[in-house]
Amino acid sequence: MTQAPQPAIQELPLPQVTQDALPYWEALKEEKLIFQRCTSCKSAIFPPRSDFCPYCNTYGQIEWEQSTGHGKVYSFSVVERPPTSAWNDRVPYNLGFIWLDEDWVIFSEIRGASKDMAIDASVSVEYETRGDFVLPIFNLRT
């Protein structure tokens, strides 16, 4: 599915943004993938939170950090039957969890031949514009 035809992009869903995640979406517009890190326990944090670290429970110690965008496939599925007709032109597409090198996990599309999909395959980020948003997606690194 390396070169699936692009459907009318505005038919695809846009993210419902939370206030906690505004910096994430702003950074993506400059093609930067960012996540949070607790300066107290050093844990990477995603999805974004307000100032309360879910891992060490300290308050006010969370900062944003830029990711290299490199990681490995943790799990994946090749979607053959999409949720709405807006996705018909894209099937099959690969969705999965990606474990990034900075020790945080994101859910995304993984572009590459379905037959090459595998747990622990290396991936790197690229960007797709959708409406007023830029979504991070990932490519299999070959």
């Binding site: 979607v79 053959e80 949720p83 996705w87 969705l95 969890f97 996990v105 747990i119």
Partner: protein, 403 residues
């Protein structure tokens, strides 16, 4: 605490709908309730507390619990939806017990219905409700694609094959073909080849490894009352123990979870659920062990979740439930019957009421009144209600004998 025989289901009713008998959730719940009241030998005015699960997908009005009480003109001390996904439908039995043992209620009505296939365009609904609208939904996931993430890891870590998952589906169909309301009954007996020839929905899950929609609609109603009242009931089913647990909402949050009981194993993982905790509570309360169960009713919406749930309920070590499947124990005639109405895989999912269908099946079996294949002599059943992305868990242990 040990529960003993403090509370029991003293009245029970169920109701069904299909294309030729189109009934909405309000009608189905009313019919099941009328049967349950008559079965218990009480009037609606005796009911002082009402619990439901979350509002039916086919009738999403907020405060559905109160809409239903009002529809019956049945004033109550309190009515409430128990809403941690489908697990709430099972957990309402535990809430009912607590009302009874504290003396705050005499008769608690627990009821759930739905008729999603008859009234809702089901294609897009699922993922829109259960995927993270910010970090998952924009990528086009479906419910099967999200559950497939668990399957991908589970199969990878424990050497489970697609043919193994196919065997789970075949065994469920072996039960389902005997149940008059089972949605997949019409397909008759299947084999592993049937499953492997069905198309992928979201790899590694093929169509026959996924729960189907249907039957058109179902409802189950249960009157819970004290042991004293149960003593004079026709066929009381004791609630011997119950438990519950919730670990996350969206799957991306489950992947981020690090604060959880040791029973979930090293985190992150997608192979063990909070059902371990819910089951431990229920066994402890009932003073029973997995070996004491004669029957299991799961929330097996996909073939791999059947395996994971059997493990998390304590019937097999992690990664080893497939041995139980291969042994034939879970099949008709086996030593540990599982999903005796065909389960969600073959009986199907009429909506949120699929969780009540599992309880209905256990109660019918324990009362010697199975609609499909009977399990002779069964005295104890464990029923699991799961919901969300393997997020919410509730367990009830039911018995037809006072312990």
């Amino acid at each position: 605490m040990k529960l003993g025989n403090a509370a029991a289901i003293i009245g029970f009713g169920d109701a069904y709908a299909d294309e030729n008998n189109k009934r909405d959730p309000l009608q189905l719940a009313t019919e099941a309730t009328a049967i349950a009241l008559a079965d218990a030998g009480i009037e609606k005015t005796d009911v002082d507390t009402l619990f439901t699960g979350r509002a039916p997908w086919a009738d999403c009005r907020p405060q559905w619990n109160n809409i239903f009480a009002s529809h019956l003109q049945m004033p109550v001390i309190i009515s409430s939806e128990i809403t941690f996904h489908g697990a709430g439908v099972n957990a309402m039995l535990g809430f009912a017990v607590e009302k009874i043992v504290t003396g705050r209620a005499d008769y608690v009505l627990c009821v759930q219905s739905d008729a999603t296939p008859l009234f809702v365009d089901t294609v897009a609904m699922g993922a829109a409700t259960d995927a993270d609208p910010q970090f998952e939904y924009p990528y086009g996931p479906t419910i099967p694609a999200l559950y497939a993430q668990w399957a991908c890891r589970y199969m990878h870590e424990f050497g489970i094959t697609e043919e193994d998952l196919a065997m789970v589906a075949v065994q469920h169909q072996d039960w389902g073909i005997h149940h008059p309301k089972a949605a997949k009954r019409r397909f008759g007996k299947i084999d592993i080849e049937t499953v492997m020839n069905s198309p992928y929905i979201a790899s590694p899950l093929r169509r026959w490894m996924c729960a189907t929609w249907g039957p058109g609609g179902t409802a189950g109603a249960f009157i819970v009352a004290s042991a004293e009242k149960a003593a004079s009931a026709r066929a009381p089913i004791y609630i011997s123990g119950y438990g519950s647990y919730s670990t996350h909402e969206y799957l991306i949050e489950r992947m981020a979870l690090r604060n959880a009981p040791a029973s979930l194993g090293p985190l992150p993982n997608l192979n063990t659920t909070g059902l371990t905790e819910a089951a431990a509570q229920a066994y402890e309360m009932a003073d029973m062990r997995p070996d004491d169960m004669d029957m299991v009713q799961l929330s097996g919406n996909f073939a791999h979740t059947v395996l994971m749930e059997m493990e998390d309920l304590g019937f097999a070590k992690k990664g080893k439930a497939m041995d139980l499947v291969r042994s034939g124990a879970m099949e008709p005639g086996g030593s540990l019957p599982v999903d005796t109405n065909g389960g969600w895989l073959s009986f199907g999912q009429p909506g949120i009421s699929c969780t009540v269908d599992s309880i209905v099946e256990a109660v019918r079996q324990l009362r010697g009144d199975a609609m499909g294949l009977a399990v002779p002599g069964a005295e104890r059943a464990i029923v699991y209600g799961g919901g969300g992305m393997l997020a919410c868990h509730a367990v009830s242990i039911l018995s037809n004998k006072a312990s």
